[in-house]
């Protein structure tokens, strides 16, 4: 093979490798940044699939395709559970608000909203968003033009009708109250959806509100720091590897050599994972078979009775056992008072009901648990 061809192949491989590696990192980073849990799942999936693409480039196509299968179906199921189980799937509400206000950007960090939006001509606002913005503009105008604000009060970011003299929690939703920046001339009920309050907020109040509502972003700064540290560490490892490495000359076959190495090492891990899953299924089946009605014991039926009665009952049941052992069945008992035992049919001495043939305690217990 000519040198130029080899060089072209190596160059192409490098380009594809860098593109896929960038996609892997970018997918993971966007997963951290996005407000929508659905999108977070998608971005993580993209990251995993791009990593699978790296396996393909290395010639370990079986490994890559397994990675695609596991990440796609796993992430899909995770997204389904997040959508189904959460009322606000990890910030979907915030994400929706952001979309409704037509704010650009895909991440939580770009959530900074305009504090003083440009004035919109009041004649025929295009839609409700425009109306809200012009509303804010009017109020901001009123604020700057010196309309007297009322004494410091606190309000809920989501329930502007809540007015409290002190800081604390909203009685409606439990969110932290924020200082009310609205002017007294504006009736609180007019801002129906709370959007106006949000646009008039300071960035810090904003971030607090996002954290209060989005459930998943309180750890965002820490996640960013951790991700940065990991990236630095990885870079250091790539530059200065502490363990012995195998020098691979840059040929056209080098990637497939690495791929074979990967395949040989990681297939064992995959097989181990498959064994674990199989063991888990087997364990679940075995445990599932165990999960039957508990062993009937004689105490269950008498748990609600006074101790004295229980005592006599216990004696009588043990006696019944003796009787059964000696003379078989043939006792009569009251359906309502099981402690009553009589060798002959007749009326119960306690309630006067007709006695019925006594069953063995084991049968009674079985019936009780089956019901």
């Amino acid at each position: 093979m000519k040198d130029e061809t080899v060089f072209a192949i190596i160059l192409t491989q490098w380009a594809i490798f860098l593109a896929l590696a960038g996609l892997t990192v970018a997918g993971a980073a966007t997963m951290l940044l996005t407000m929508s849990m659905y999108r977070a799942g998608l971005f993580l999936m993209v990251s995993f699939v791009a990593a699978a693409g790296l396996f393909f480039v290395l010639g370990a196509d079986l490994l890559g395709i397994i990675q695609v299968m596991m990440s796609v179906s796993g992430m899909l199921i995770m997204m389904a559970f997040m959508v189904m189980l959460m009322i606000d799937p990890g910030g979907e509400m915030m994400w929706d608000m952001k979309r409704q206000m037509r704010l650009p950007g895909l991440g939580a960090l770009s959530m900074s909203m305009p504090r003083r939006p440009a004035p919109v001509p009041s004649s025929a606002p295009p839609d409700d968003v425009g109306a809200a913005q012009s509303d804010v503009a009017r109020r901001s105008d009123a604020l700057t033009s010196g309309a007297s604000p009322e004494g410091t009060s606190y309000t809920c970011p989501m329930h502007p009708e809540v007015q409290m003299p002190t800081a604390g929690e909203c009685p409606k939703c439990g969110m932290d109250l924020v200082p009310d920046e609205r002017v007294s001339a504006q009736p609180a009920q007019e801002s129906g959806d709370g959007m106006n309050t949000m646009t008039a907020m300071s960035p810090a109040a904003h971030y607090d509100m996002m954290v209060a509502m989005a459930m998943s972003t309180e750890q965002l700064p820490w996640a960013l720091v951790a991700g940065l540290l990991t990236a630095i560490l990885l870079g250091v490892l790539v530059i200065q590897t502490p363990w012995p490495t195998v020098p691979v000359s840059a040929t056209a076959d080098a990637t497939s050599a690495v791929g074979e190495l990967l395949l040989s090492r990681y297939m064992m891990a995959f097989e181990g994972a498959a064994m674990l899953i199989l063991a888990g299924i087997a364990g679940a089946v075995i445990l599932g078979r165990r999960e039957r009605a508990p062993e009937p014991n004689q105490g269950t039926a008498s748990a609600a009775l006074p101790p004295a009665v229980q005592h006599t009952m216990l004696e009588e049941t043990t006696m019944t056992h003796h009787d059964e052992k000696q003379s078989g069945k043939g006792e009569w008992t009251c359906p309502m008072h099981p402690e009553v035992r009589s060798p002959t049919p007749g009326a119960c001495p306690k309630c006067g009901m007709e006695l019925v043939p006594a069953e063995s305690p084991k049968q009674r217990g079985n019936e009780g648990t089956r019901r």
């Binding site: 929508s36 299968m69 179906s73």
Partner: protein
């Protein structure tokens, strides 16, 4: 080298479009009602629909999750085209003959589910949201079962390459001595291609078209085309796995070339699947999940055992 790849991609897309057109014609022929049913007009009716959709002005729903919503039909079509990449129509009529072609085929059906889920989620509506969850329930239902159904032919041919698997059937089709595996494959194929009776993500009468409810114009055409091509591909792989691929039946085999036999078998399977869908009441997604995991999966274990014993007996 690049030009050859582009040419291959263009060829694949062309024959895939033609194949999905054939699927649409068959669907029309089997349809219970509507224009062109069971008549010659069925040949042209899909073209009329496609033309109308292609020229229609696309109507976007109110505040969609833009990138997801608009990319979904493209992602679906791309995933289906990737699946077509590994389906053979003759000993050499295959875009990419890899040793793990069958596995790749199953795996790239996953992004189709992702696309449908995105389409439903991005539409910003209740129908779409329900359809999104239902689409995701499909991958839970079909993936494991499909994997076990294709293991029978893979075991018998001792390969995951679709070409090897077809070549192993030049005497006996696998469908002849693995009828249970064939039936299980067809059930999971119906699940994987979102056709009745397992069409809840797209249920027309129930949630107004599901994931396709909010699409219109060229995007809807692309989505429908991708789904039609998906059915065709799933049937083609069924023909390759169980009906001998490009090998004709014993006596009349030489009458037609190999690719023609493959086409005949594929379209016969498509017609059969559509007919089964017509005759079966629709499964709810929870019924589909229960059916898949409680009935089809245990049966596929049985099938694997039987096939293994038969292979051992054959020596």
């Amino acid at each position: 080298m690049m030009g050859a790849h582009l040419l291959g991609a263009a060829t694949t897309l062309t024959w895939l479009s033609l194949a999905s057109y054939g699927t649409a014609v068959l669907e029309r022929l089997i349809a219970p009602e509507g224009a062109g049913r069971r008549s010659v007009r069925a040949l042209l009716q899909p073209a009329a629909v496609a033309l109308r959709l292609a020229r229609a002005r696309p109507i976007s729903p109110r505040r969609p999750d833009g990138s997801l919503f608009h990319s979904a039909p493209v992602v679906a079509a791309a995933a289906v085209a990737l699946a077509a990449w590994v389906v053979p129509f003759g000993p050499s009529i295959i875009a990419n003959d890899t040793p793990i072609g069958l596995f790749i085929f199953i795996v790239v059906l996953g992004p189709v589910v992702v696309a449908l889920a995105n389409a439903g989620w991005g539409a910003n509506g209740k129908y779409g949201l329900f359809a999104c969850l239902r689409a995701i329930s499909h991958i839970v239902a079909y993936e494991v079962v499909l994997g076990f159904a294709i293991l029978g032919p893979a075991m018998a041919a001792e390969s995951l390459s679709l070409v090897r698997i077809v070549e192993a059937q030049h005497q006996w089709w696998f469908g002849v001595w693995q009828p249970l595996g064939f039936a299980l494959y067809l059930v999971s194929a119906l699940m994987a291609s979102y056709r009745r009776p397992f069409d809840t993500p797209l249920a027309g009468s129930e949630i107004a078209g599901g994931v396709s409810a909010e699409y219109s114009g060229p995007a809807l055409l692309l989505l429908r085309g991708a789904l039609a091509a998906l059915l065709f591909l799933v049937a083609a792989v069924g023909a390759a796995l169980f009906l001998g691929g490009w090998f004709g039946p014993p006596v009349v085999g030489p009458l037609l070339p190999g690719w023609a036999w493959m086409l005949v078998k594929t379209y016969a399977l498509v017609a059969f699947l559509l007919w089964v869908g017509r005759r079966t009441p629709r499964f709810g997604h929870e019924q589909m999940l229960a059916f898949s995991w409680k009935v089809v999966l245990p049966l596929s274990f049985v099938n694997l055992g039987v096939v293994g014993i038969l292979i051992l007996l054959r020596g």
